[in-house]
Amino acid sequence: MKKKKAATLEEAVSHLRDGATVLIGGFGYGGVPEHLIEGICGRGLRNLTIVNNNAGTGHTGIARLLEEGCVGKIICSFPFAAESVVFKDMYEAGKVDLEVVPQGTLAERMRNAGAGLGGFLTPTGVGTEIAEGKAELTVDGKRYIMEKPLRGDFALVKAFKVDPRGNLVYRKGARNFNPVMAMAADFTIAEVREEVPLGALDPEVIVTPSVYVDCYYVTG
């Protein structure tokens, strides 16, 4: 069986490189791979494109990456949360690029990439600024715009349990973006609370099959 378990946090995040597009799971407090994000801080990475629902809160996690100058661009749906103070200042100073994407389109673009597809037509954003520069088509009398797949070089996801193959289950609302991000990256790294023996996960309840997980780190 392919060995996917990282012995240390450093090993888990050692693959990341300058210029990479990094999909980072989580919504609010739930399902955020906090250890992995902290693990890539302080490594001097440059020009990352970060995909997340938000643009970092407070001064930890994605906000710390921003402060360290690692981030060239953020792709998210909700950049100006009250706590996104670091991003707001840097964006206004022109120090980081922003692509704001409707939340459902963001999730679907990653799912589309993971599914090996080349784009999709969505009604979301028709007649708005989001449609600018995109093809618009009418199908069966309804207007749609064409959105492109969004693929990551890396995904950092947070899960509840993992087995030695790398199968993942999540916990409640901490599932959120994690399963689609795991699908959509060339290399997916999972931060997991608990490792269980092979065969201990019911095959009916596995949300992210092992084939999507390249490396996992158990936080305990």
Binding site: P102, E108, P179
Partner: protein
């Protein structure tokens, strides 16, 4: 161009009163998405026996009220606004792509959203201030375009005196032709093919006062009701 309108110098409805009025229109067994901000005020006013199934964009189908005891707060169980919630019996968790499939796929009977402006044709603006270089979209564009009905909940007039009920949007649109009803601190309006119909006014207000506080023509119904506040 934005239009300054006249706010009546009278007691208007408070947030909870608007929320209560809106909640009365959420029908039994509906699947409903509640936006962040003022829409969340409606939740406590929806009678449990209606068994409304609340959808939260982060993958909760059957979102329940906040836990009553501190020890029941679960960081993995939160609303779109990031507040602690519960899950009703028979609720389910799905991932983000599946959650928005539900929203766009026509399975929401209603979405309750805040608004900067609502136009007479149902166009909704709620994500970006005029002239700003960007804004917060969140799930609003997908939800607004996907729900069978959109109930906008807002103050009738902006703090700076600008009309929010308008003939045509002056703010960047969120979605076109989606709003079906508007609940404000002055009135309940429905959006019809002919434009806004003034369905109900807040106690103590006249139809003329609500019209004066609006930058779109309001059609008067045969019998104007007063909001039960």
């Amino acid at each position: 161009m934005s239009q300054i309108v006249k706010i009546p110098q009278k007691q208007l409805l408070k947030r909870d009163q608007i929320a209560k009025r809106l909640a009365a229109d959420l029908q039994g067994d509906w699947v409903v998405n509640i936006g962040i901000g003022i829409p969340t005020a409606t939740l406590p006013f929806v009678p449990a026996e209606r068994d409304v199934v609340f959808h939260s964009e982060n993958g909760l189908i059957g979102m329940g009220p906040p836990p009553t005891r501190e020890e029941d707060v679960d960081r993995d169980l939160m609303s779109a606004g990031k507040g602690p919630v519960t899950l009703i019996p028979g609720g389910a968790f799905v991932h983000h792509a599946d959650s928005f499939s539900l929203a766009r796929g026509g399975r929401l009977d209603c979405a309750v959203l805040g608004a900067f402006q609502v136009a007479a044709n149902g166009d909704l603006a709620n994500w970006k201030v005029k002239g700003a270089s960007s804004g917060n979209i969140g799930g609003a564009m997908d939800i607004a375009v996907g729900a069978k009905q959109v109930f906008a909940i807002m103050t009738h007039v902006a703090k700076n005196g600008e009309a929010k009920i308008v003939e045509n949007l002056t703010y960047p649109p969120t979605a076109l032709g989606v709003v079906t009803r508007v609940y404000t601190d002055m009135a309940v309006l429905s959006v019809t093919p002919k434009g806004f119909v003034l369905e109900e006014v807040a106690p103590g207000l006249t139809a003329e006062e609500v019209q004066a506080a609006s930058a779109a023509r309001l059609i008067l119904p045969d019998s104007l009701r007063t909001i039960a506040a």
